[in-house]
Every structure is written in structure tokens, then in C-alpha cells.
């Protein structure tokens, strides 16, 4: 169910949840969780089922339990909007996490850095490790391979009989790998890959290289 790949000489495991483990660093990379989105909607009068809130946390727990990483790095848009009570749930979740946690700030991350630091999360605008550049927005920088999120990549797979399947995906293009959005309640941007790109779609169970 896990797809192992190499990027600039380093080993990575792609997980069907959309998370990705950097083997050498034992660092779990997760992008665009958009926590608090459902609570945000409810606060503004849109009655999205509240029970759905738990799912994001359960997914996070499952993938952390699976890899038991030393570090967790969120590639931005961890929280969808301003502070709401879902933060408390996140605080609870953090208490069971022994790994070192950091957040590369994204455009949605408007909650004060102090709040993050108080629960032990280190805030950075970008992260450079070896020859990899970790950002939220996709960015091309010479001599670096970029790992990022923001785009919520998805892929439409077309087949005979006018069939189509739409799925979230990991999208590798040139010196860049864009992670799918981890969050349940988020939309997708449909990519059209070029020759040489790689697309790994994720189902609930598997990661499949389709392009």
C-alpha cells in the first residue's frame, strides 16, 4: 500500500493518506490539513456535520502511529482560518505526540505563532535540509529540490468508454514534489502533467503511479 521512491538520492515513502515519510530524517511530511474548517463553517452559520471534525485527527493519529516518526513537518495550511474551539482538540492531540513538530507557514495559517509555540510547535517560513527546500507555496530555486503543498493536486484519469476517475495525488514535476491535501474537507486542483512528470494517485488503500 505504500510506494517507496527516491528524490535527489533520498528515500521517501508515500502513504495513501497523502502524508510522506522522509526515511533518512525519519521526518513525516503532511500538507494542507485545514483543521478547524468545519468549526469555522459552523461558527458562521453553516451546519456542516460536527462529527466530521474527528476524522482529521483520527487520520493524523493513524499515519503517525504507522510511521512513528522522529519529526513531523506540516507544509502549511495546518489551520483553515482564525482560532476556534477545534484548536483545543488539536492541543489535546499534540499531548500524545512525542515527535518534534514544526510548521512551514502557509497562506491560511493566520493563528498567532505564539499559540503554536505554546504547544511546542516550531514555526518556520521555509526549511532547508540537505539539498531539499521545504515550503508551502511551490517554489523553484536553483540547486534545490522543492517539497511543498498549497496546490491540493488532483488528477483526472480517463479511460475507454468515456470513463473518468478523479483522485488526489502526489505530483512530481522537474525538481519539485507537490503533496496532496491531507484534510478531508478540502477541494482539489486538477493538474495536467507534462512529459517526464510523475503522478501518484491515492485511494483510501493504495498509492498508484499513473503517469
Amino acid at each position: 500500500m505504500i510506494e517507496n521512491i527516491q528524490l535527489v538520492g533520498q528515500n521517501f515513502s508515500l502513504h495513501p493518506s497523502g502524508a510522506m515519510l522522509w526515511e533518512e530524517k525519519q521526518m513525516l511530511l503532511i500538507s494542507d490539513v485545514h483543521l478547524g474548517k468545519i468549526s469555522h463553517f459552523r461558527k458562521y452559520g453553516s451546519a456542516v456535520p460536527q462529527n466530521a471534525i474527528a476524522e482529521n485527527f483520527e487520520c493524523l493519529t493513524r499515519v503517525v502511529d504507522h510511521f512513528q516518526p522522529e519529526k513531523i513537518c506540516f507544509l502549511g495550511d495546518l489551520f483553515h482560518s482564525s482560532l476556534n474551539l477545534e484548536w483545543d482538540l488539536f492541543e489535546n492531540w499534540m499531548q500524545d505526540i512525542s515527535a518534534e513538530v514544526m510548521l512551514v507557514v502557509g497562506n491560511h495559517d493566520i493563528i498567532s505563532a505564539l499559540k503554536y509555540e505554546a504547544v511546542g510547535i516550531k514555526i518556520v517560513s521555509e526549511l532547508i535540509l540537505e539539498n531539499l527546500l521545504l515550503t508551502h507555496h511551490p517554489e523553484i530555486r536553483e540547486n534545490y529540490f522543492n517539497l511543498c503543498g498549497h496546490l491540493h493536486p488532483g488528477f483526472k484519469l480517463n479511460g475507454a468508454g468515456k470513463q473518468q476517475v478523479k483522485l488526489r495525488c502526489f505530483y512530481k514535476s522537474g525538481e519539485q514534489m507537490i503533496l496532496p491535501a491531507f484534510g478531508e474537507f478540502t477541494g482539489n486542483y486538477w493538474i495536467s502533467p507534462n512529459v517526464g512528470d510523475q503522478v501518484f494517485v491515492i485511494t483510501k488503500k493504495e498509492v498508484i503511479l499513473v503517469y
Binding site: V48, A160, G161, K162, V165
Partner: protein
């Protein structure tokens, strides 16, 4: 003054105009002045405005003997119309009578087009007659102290009730009326409807089943016999007749002489994109029409629409290419001829469109039918018969539309607040909610106050609050503002306004179309070639373009299906076609023209007879096609196709895409369908229909699409608005996602369940489906394995709008697609 004296007053006004009141007008005056409610069945252009506005004025005269010198202010009557385009016409007619009678009564319009300034002025001082839409009525109910506004309301007249009846806007009207019945003393409710199958029911829905208003009501019929002449435009050479293209543009040269020979012609198209293309092509090929031919559809800006309407009235236009935006109301006396492009899908609509021409008494209405593909000629032939027999459809009213109820209750909470014990009996008195249970009512109240059924930890849901005295009230200004912007039941994709960079508003366009363009791309809109410069907020900035290859926006929705009546006529026509094909000559011109096509169909397959059910299979580059021909209309085919696809998919893992039109449906797969197995397993059986349908619904998109509208109407999705700088940042949600979230976490939600119920009741028409299956079970199934697509199959297999259904495991499906890709 007593009643005869009052009526005399009106009659002498008629005399002065050299008119004579129709019997139905006098009947209506009398009934109204007797204090009755009612439904007036009268077609457009028959003088229905005078039938109902006159007694309102007469009542005022009666109650105010000094009406010529004194003006008693305040709202006295509301005229509800489904289309903004109609309001000007009514305003003019009503204003004229009020003035010439020497009253000082004023007439005002309030619709989505009314400016903020005018609204504010109206709020301070309401006109005596307010012409408005169902949405604007609800907006009034959502403003503070609305009860004072409506206190002295004497009359509410719902025009074109047949148009509203089978829609959620009808439910809006029902709810609005239920409130007004309580707060306006001495209220009389009248509806005006064109001929539909269920007029008695229409009256009951309007007035409330078994209510006092209903007991004290009348149904008045105008019975004006008007002759309608239908002529088909038939291409000279059938061989050249294209099978697809869908737009009928190849027949454009046939249309031109018709335009030239008539004072004014309305050319009705079924979609806005078809309208744009026809207009463009006409201008391109016949540039001499410039300035004489115009275009009218719902997305064009108001000024242009009004200009076009006015230009029709003063005879300065030869022709207007339009959509249903000109279907209703407005009397355009100069219109002599109607051209209908493509099947109108329903008899009532066709007759109504025909009625747009030849308004003068004694004149006949002429309508030309222009088929967009060959098989539509059969439709034309069927329509001719339908018009002769006046076979018209029912409009099915909505039941238990909880989404509209949620919206309405929130409106009341936004304005004055409400006490459930006052409102519940009103709700229960409406046709729509006559069957609501106490549990459901409680559920709705919980939903608007808690956002769920029980209080949960970490929840900050905020919408309607319950105050200490039990008043349900919205206190948050943001909630109130967003709610007001969302009032309405017509759901479209997010709309963006189209403007020139240099300034100048052109119209509104669906976001999904623009999202497919990049800056620099050219597209055609409102008859102009435009180039996309950039998108800024909710605005699309454009400049004029000279590029030849421009895209034409296709607007979503608007796909109508045949009614049961129309399908029956069509089948009868088919059987006749078979006879005529066998005997070498048709009875009607249309069938005669189709002879070459029938012959080819018979060579490659068969034309099914009365007791035959045809299935064709063949293979093309696209995959394995199976076409079924029940001739039951689009909606029944949609249901049948997903039912059958579901049942086949139980036999072995397989994925389908489904296409359907009014004649039949297609299952397309990348695997061969074992048709013998389909026949052996009796998959057309009406047994377990509901269970299988339910399962197939889960597998397709139908309920999902219904839910999209429900979510917006109930205020769960905020769509944002063009021209309004509202920050909805972080509140945009994809309704597809929302559907999945409800399915996974709150499947018992009444609004979620409503999506399925609506699919059954309004989309799939379960009753019709059952009848169709029973009919099929008595027919001989004839399976033809064909070499290539047959003439009958062509319009279906080229339809690109498709449903999907799969019983394969997702992972297996992806792998199969990958393997086929590599081949």
C-alpha cells in the same frame, strides 16, 4: 357605491378605450368584489392584468369615496411575477388604469434589478401596488417591522402561477402567503395560470388545502379559443441532414425568409449558448440584419433586456433570438411569428410559446418548428397532434421542501423574530407542509438553532438564537447579511459579472465557464466577441476582441425532459413511422421527409413496433455500446439507465458511463456487456425497484446534484454574489464535498434525505418508471447486434453529458484504465 355601480365604472373605462370586457374579466371583478379568492385560468395576452387589477382599484374607490382628492397611503396590493421582464408591462397597464380613473394610486416595482436607493425609498413609503418576485417578497419578510408594511394589504395576485407551481419558488410563495394571511386583514389571494393538467390542484396549493381561503374561492376559466398553426422546417435534402450539431444552424437559410415575411419574429432556443450561437451566425451570414435583430436571455444585463423588450413593442426589430426569458407574460403585439429551435420538450411550453404571436383578437398564432437533428422531426409531427388535442401536462408541486422552510424561518428570525407556536400552524396549513410531523418540525428548529440535533462539545454553531422569552431571533449582523444575500431558490453556479476594462457592465456568467479560460482567450457573450483580460474578485474584466475562434459559454442546467404526455404521443408517432416506412410513404410531411433515415434504420436494425422493445449493441473506438429504446422521455431514461447499469454491475465487476435523451439510453463500457445474460436474468423486472433504485442512486450523481441546490437554499453553502463586495473568504465550500461529509457523518439529516426524496419524486418520476417497466415486460425484447451506430442511436451516443456507475474496486479500475492506456 355598490358593486354594480363599481363595475359600471370599469365598463365605461373599457368603452372609452373602444374595448369590450371579456366574460372572464367581468366574472373575476365580481368574485373579487364579493371578497373571494380564486384562480384565473387565462393565457398570456388575454387581458388578465385588467381582470385582477381593476377590482383592486374598485375596492379602493369603494372604501375611499373621496379617492379623487385624497390619497390613503400604504401598500394595498402585491403582484407577484416569476420574471423581472414582466414587471414593466404590468406596471404600465396598472398605472394607466389607476390614473385614468382619477385615483392617486401609485405602482412600484421591486425586484433583484431595483437599485438600493429605490429600495430605501420604497421602504419609507410603499407604493399602493407593488410588483415583485417571490424572492423579493421574502426579502421584505426578512426586514424589520414587515408586519406594519403588510398590515393593510387587500390583495395578493400571483401571476403565471403555473410556472411557479412545480418549483421551489412555488413553495416560497406558499410560505409567504401563510404569513400574510395572518398579518394582513381582509386579504384576497388570486392566482393566474395558463392551462395545465392540474388546475384544481393548482388552486388548492395556492390557497392552502381545506383552508378558509380555499372554501371561499372560485376557479374562473377564460376559454378563449385561439388557433395555433404549427409548421415544420424541413431540409430539402435529407441525405445532407447532419446527425449531430444539435443546434440546427444548418437550417439558418430557411429561417431568413420567415423573418423577412413577418413583422416581428421571436426565435426561441432551448439554451443560452444556443441563443448566442444563433445570433452570432445570423449576424455573420446576414449582416444586413444588424440593428434589426437582437438577442435576449437571462444573463444579459438589465438595460439591454429592457431595451430589447421596448424595441419589440415599438416594432423596431425584425427578430429576437431568445430563450425562456421571453416565455412569459409580456404582450408583444407586433410579434407575428414564432420559431422554435429544437424540441420544446413539453406541450404546454410549446403552446405557450406559440401564443406569444398573433395577440390581436381573431388572429391565429403561427409557430415554426426547426429540428436540430433528424429524429426531432418525429417530435414535430407529435407536437402537431398535441396542439390539436390540447394535451397538457401537470405541474407537480413540491412536498416537504425542508430547505425552503429553513430559509424562510431564518428570514423571519432575521426580521422580527418568531415564536414557533405562532408559526407552526401557519406552516402546517400550506400544501407543501401539510404532512409535516411534530418530530420533523422540532428537527428543523434544532437545526437552525444548534446546527444539529444535540448540543455538542467544542461547538460554536451560530445562526438563530432562542431568546429568554422563547423568541427565535438572529442577532448576528454577519449572519443576517449573508442570509439576505442568499434568499431565493434558484441555484446557479457562482456568478461573476462581466465588465469592460474601460467600464461598462455586460452581464453575468457562471464561474465554471470562465475558470476554463486563460487571459487572452476570446469568448462570445451577449452577442459580442470578448477577450478575457483578467479576473478580479467577482468580476471578469474583458476587452473587445477581433479573434475569429471564440468559445461560446455553455450554461449548465436547462435540460428539460419529455413529459409523460409527450412521450406517449411520440411513441404513437414512432409506430406510425414504422407503418409508413413499410408502406413506402408517410402520412405527415415530417414522416415523409424522414423516409431515407427510416430506411437506413431498418437496414441496419429495426424500427420497433408497438409490442417490441429494441436493444442495439455495437462496438466503436470508444468502447462497447448498448442502446435501449423505451421512448419514455429523458427523466425516465435517466432512472432506467442507472437501474439497469446497477443490476448488470451486480453480475460482475464492471464500469459504465450512461447517456440518455428523450428516445432512449446508452450504457457504454470498456468491457463487453453480456446481453444474453441481461435478458436471461430478467433485469427489466419491476421487482425490488425501490431497493435497486436507491442503491443505484448512491452510485450515481443524481442525488448529489439535488443536494447541491438543497445545501445552498438551506444556507449551508455560501455562494457569494456578483456586484457585491462581500468577503466570503474561507466560507466557500464545494457542495460535492459537503454531500460526502453528510453521507459519512450525518446520513439521517432531513436535508440530506430530502435530496433522495426529490430525486425520486421530481427527477425519476417513480410512478412513470413503474409504468414503463410494466409496459416493457409485456413487449418482446428484440436485441440487434449491429455493425456500427444506427441512425436512431446517433443522437444518444454523441451526447457528452454522462452519468457514471461502477461496481469495480477503485484500485482495479485504475489498473484496468492504465493497461488500456498502454495498449
Amino acid at each position: 357605491m355598490n358593486r354594480p355601480q363599481l363595475i359600471k365604472l370599469a365598463e365605461s373605462w373599457f368603452e372609452k378605450q373602444d374595448w369590450k370586457p371579456f366574460a372572464f374579466q367581468k366574472q373575476t371583478w365580481k368574485a373579487y368584489l364579493q371578497g373571494k379568492n380564486g384562480l384565473l385560468n387565462a393565457p398570456t395576452g388575454s387581458g388578465k392584468t385588467y381582470a385582477l387589477w381593476i377590482p383592486v382599484v374598485l375596492e379602493y374607490i369603494k372604501n375611499n369615496p373621496d379617492y379623487k382628492t385624497k390619497h390613503r397611503q400604504g401598500l394595498k396590493a402585491i403582484w407577484i411575477t416569476p420574471l423581472r421582464a414582466l414587471s414593466v408591462e404590468i406596471e404600465q397597464a396598472a398605472g394607466r388604469f389607476a390614473e385614468e380613473m382619477g385615483t392617486q394610486l401609485t405602482v412600484g416595482i421591486r425586484t433583484g434589478d431595483t437599485s438600493q436607493k429605490d429600495r430605501a425609498a420604497q421602504k419609507k413609503k410603499m407604493p399602493d401596488l407593488l410588483i415583485t418576485t417571490p424572492e423579493s417578497l421574502h426579502l421584505l419578510l426578512s426586514s424589520k417591522d414587515y408586519d406594519k408594511t403588510f398590515e393593510n394589504l387587500n390583495a395578493i395576485i400571483v401571476d403565471e402561477w403555473h410556472e411557479l407551481l412545480g418549483t421551489k419558488r412555488g413553495v416560497q410563495v406558499e410560505l409567504g402567503l401563510s404569513r400574510l394571511k395572518t398579518i394582513s386583514k381582509n386579504l384576497k389571494i388570486w392566482g393566474i395560470s395558463a392551462t395545465i393538467g392540474n388546475l384544481q390542484e393548482a388552486r388548492e396549493v395556492l390557497l392552502g388545502p381545506g383552508s378558509g381561503s380555499y372554501q371561499n374561492s372560485e376557479l374562473i376559466r377564460a376559454n378563449l379559443n385561439k388557433k395555433i398553426i404549427v409548421r415544420s422546417i424541413i431540409p430539402e435534402k435529407m441525405e445532407k441532414f447532419p446527425w449531430r450539431g444539435h443546434l440546427g444552424l444548418h437550417l439558418i437559410d430557411e429561417v431568413v425568409p420567415i423573418i423577412r415575411n413577418s413583422k416581428t419574429t421571436l426565435i426561441f432556443t432551448n439554451t443560452r449558448s444556443q441563443c448566442e450561437l444563433w445570433f452570432q451566425k445570423l449576424m455573420h451570414k446576414y449582416p444586413e440584419f444588424a440593428g434589426e435583430v437582437a438577442m435576449h436571455h437571462g444573463s444579459i444585463n438589465k438595460e439591454t433586456r429592457l431595451w430589447v423588450e421596448q424595441a419589440i413593442r415599438n416594432e423596431s426589430l425584425k427578430a429576437v433570438v431568445c430563450t425562456s426569458s421571453l416565455d412569459l407574460g409580456v404582450d408583444f403585439a407586433p410579434v407575428e411569428t414564432i420559431i422554435q429551435i429544437g424540441g420544446p420538450k413539453g406541450v404546454a411550453r410549446f403552446i405557450q410559446r406559440a401564443g406569444r404571436s398573433g395577440h390581436q383578437p381573431g388572429k391565429e398564432s403561427v409557430i415554426y418548428f426547426l429540428p436540430t437533428h433528424a429524429i426531432e422531426l418525429i417530435e414535430a409531427s407529435a407536437l402537431q397532434k398535441a396542439v390539436k388535442k390540447t394535451v397538457v401536462e401537470d405541474r407537480i408541486p413540491y412536498l416537504l421542501s425542508f430547505d425552503v422552510l429553513v430559509q424562510y424561518l431564518t428570514s423571519l428570525a432575521v426580521s422580527n423574530g418568531f415564536f414557533p407556536k405562532d408559526i407552526y400552524p401557519e406552516i402546517k396549513s400550506t400544501f407543501c407542509f401539510q404532512g409535516i410531523t411534530d418530530e420533523q418540525w422540532k428537527w428543523i428548529l434544532n437545526f437552525i438553532t444548534k446546527g444539529s440535533q444535540s448540543l455538542q462539545a467544542y461547538d460554536e454553531y451560530k445562526k438563530v438564537e432562542i431568546e429568554e422569552n422563547g423568541l427565535f431571533k438572529v442577532n448576528d449582523r454577519g449572519v443576517a447579511m449573508r442570509h439576505r444575500l442568499q434568499i431565493g431558490t434558484i441555484v446557479s453556479d457562482a456568478m461573476l459579472s462581466v465588465k469592460y476594462i474601460s467600464g461598462g457592465y455586460i452581464g453575468t456568467i457562471e464561474e465554471w465557464f470562465i475558470s476554463k479560460l486563460s487571459p487572452g482567450d476570446a469568448f462570445t457573450f451577449a452577442g459580442k466577441n470578448l477577450e478575457l483580460a483578467r479576473i478580479k474578485g467577482m468580476q471578469v474584466l474583458v476587452r473587445a476582441s477581433k479573434k475569429k475562434n471564440s468559445k461560446v459559454p455553455s450554461w449548465m442546467g436547462g435540460r428539460m425532459g419529455f413529459s409523460a404526455q409527450m412521450s406517449e404521443l411520440l411513441r404513437a408517432e414512432m409506430y406510425e413511422a414504422r407503418e409508413s416506412a413499410n408502406s413506402g410513404g408517410g402520412k405527415s410531411r415530417e414522416l415523409f421527409a424522414l423516409q431515407p433515415i427510416f430506411e437506413r434504420q431498418q437496414r441496419e436494425s429495426i424500427i420497433p413496433g408497438k409490442d417490441e422493445f429494441l436493444i442495439e449493441t455495437f462496438k466503436t473506438r470508444e468502447g462497447y455500446h448498448a442502446i435501449f429504446y423505451p421512448f419514455e422521455g429523458r427523466f425516465v431514461h435517466e432512472a432506467l439507465s442507472s437501474l439497469l447499469a446497477y443490476r448488470i454491475s451486480l453480475l460482475s465487476p464492471i464500469s459504465f458511463t450512461l447517456a440518455f435523451n428523450d428516445y432512449g439510453f446508452e450504457l457504454l463500457s470498456n468491457q463487453k456487456i453480456d446481453m444474453q445474460q441481461v435478458l436471461d436474468n430478467d433485469l427489466f423486472s419491476p421487482k425490488f425497484l425501490m431497493d435497486d433504485l436507491n442503491n443505484s442512486l448512491n452510485a450515481t450523481e443524481m442525488a448529489r446534484r439535488k443536494f447541491r441546490d438543497i445545501a445552498v437554499i438551506a444556507g449551508m453553502v455560501f455562494t457569494g454574489f456578483p456586484n457585491k463586495l462581500i468577503k466570503s473568504k474561507h466560507l466557500q465550500a464545494n457542495s460535492q464535498l459537503l454531500f460526502s461529509v453528510f453521507r459519512d457523518y450525518e446520513p439521517e439529516n432531513l436535508l440530506f434525505l430530502q435530496a433522495f426524496r426529490e430525486t425520486f419524486e421530481h427527477q425519476l418520476e417513480e410512478g412513470r418508471l413503474r409504468l414503463a417497466l410494466e409496459r416493457i415486460s409485456n413487449q418482446n425484447i428484440i436485441w440487434k447486434a449491429c455493425e456500427k451506430p444506427t441512425p436512431f442511436s446517433f443522437p444518444i451516443i454523441t451526447d457528452r453529458l454522462r452519468e457514471k456507475l461502477s461496481s469495480e474496486k477503485l484500485e482495479d479500475r485504475i489498473r484496468r484504465m492504465l493497461i488500456q492506456w498502454e495498449k
